[in-house]
Amino acid sequence: MTRLLLSLAIGLILGMALGLGIGYGLFPVEYINSPLTLLAESYRDDYTVMIASGYAVDRDLTGAVERLRALEVSNVPAYVQVVTERYISQGRNYADIVRLVALAEAMGRLTPLMESYRSAVSP
C-alpha cells in the first residue's frame, strides 16, 4: 500500500511539474480580442506617433484626443507629453518627435525640452 501511495505521489508531483511547465512555459494562455489599453508599450508609443502624424495632416485636435482616449490613459495631454519627452530623451526618429511635439503643443503641453523641435514645425 505504501508502495502504491509513494508511486502515486511521485507521479503526481512529476505530472504537476510537467503540467505547469507546459501551461506556463511551452503553451501559455494566449489572449485574443484584447483592447488597445493592453497594448505593449512600444506599440502604444507607435500608436501615439501614428495619431500625431494624422494630426499633422488634418489638424483635428478633437479627433486626435478621441483616438488617444482609446488607450484609456487618465490624462491624454499629460500622456502625450510623457511619450514625446521619452522619444526626445531616447533620440528616436526625428520626424516622429517633430509630430509628437506639434501634438503636445496643440494640447498645451509644450515643455522646454521640446522647444528645439517646435521650431522645426512652425514655418
Partner: protein
Amino acid sequence: MANRLRISWVALLLGLIAGLALGLVYAWVLAPVVEYNTLPYQLDPTARAQYLAAISLAYRADSDLGRAVERLIALRLPDPFQALADTACGMFQDGFQSAAERNAIEAMIVLYRSQGRSGCADQSGIFTLNQSTPTPLPTAIPSTPTLTPPATKTSTPAPGVTPPTAVPLHTPTTPPQQNEYTIVNIPTFCSTAAPGVIEVYVQLPGSGEVPGVEIRVSWDGGEDHFFTGLKPERGLGYADFQMEANRTYIVELPGRSPRSTPLTAGPCTAEDGQRSTISYRVIFRRL
C-alpha cells in the same frame, strides 16, 4: 527488503496523468498568465479597426509605404490591404459621425487603393481623395542636413551650369552601388497549381526571414511594388507576383539589391505531363 522499495509503475503513471491534468488546469484556467505586452494581432476587432485607421493616418502623413506595411504585418492579417478596405467599408456603413471618422476612412482608402484594393467606401464616391499629396511635415522641417542622404545632394549640383572649379572632391567619385542584399539563386519550377508565379524569398544570412521588404518587379511598360510578409502562412520573408504568359520581368529590392536576370514566363511541361507556364523562385539574402 528490496521488494518494498520498488515503484509501482501503474500508480506512477496514474499519478503522472492526474498531476499533468492538475498542472494544466491550474496554468490555463485557475491562474493563467497575466495579460500584458499585448501585440497588435491580439487586438479585438474594434481596437484593430482603430489601429488600422492610425496606420492609414500615419501613411497619409509620411507616404512611407514600407513603414505602413511593417505596421500592418504586426496585425498578422491574411490580406491586410483588403482588411483595410473591409474595415473602411464597415465604418462607412455604420455611418461615420465625426470629421475624425471621415478623415480615417479617407486615409484608409488612400492606403488600400495604393495597393489595388477596393471596397464599398471608395465606391460610394462620397470621399474626397485628392488631398493624397502627403508629407506636410517633412517639407515644413527646415534644413536638416542629417536627414538628407549626402549622395543625392552631391550629385544634383554636378550637372548644373557651375564652372568646372566647383566640387573638386566629389566629381571624381563614381556613385558606389552599395547593395544590402544579394540574389542567391533563381531556381525555376513548373506547376499547374501555380503557373507563371515569381516567388520571392528575402532571408537573413543564417536563418530567418525579413518581413516588410519592398520588392519591385518591372517589365516593358510597367512595374509593380509589393512587400514581403503579407502572406504570413508562407513565411515572413515571402511574397509573390503573378506573371503574364510570354512576358519578361526583372525582380529587385529597389536600392538594396542587384537586378535579377530577365525572367520570362515561357511555356513548360509539369511533372504530370500537362502544359503550364514556368515559375521562378528568387532568393535574396542579406549580406
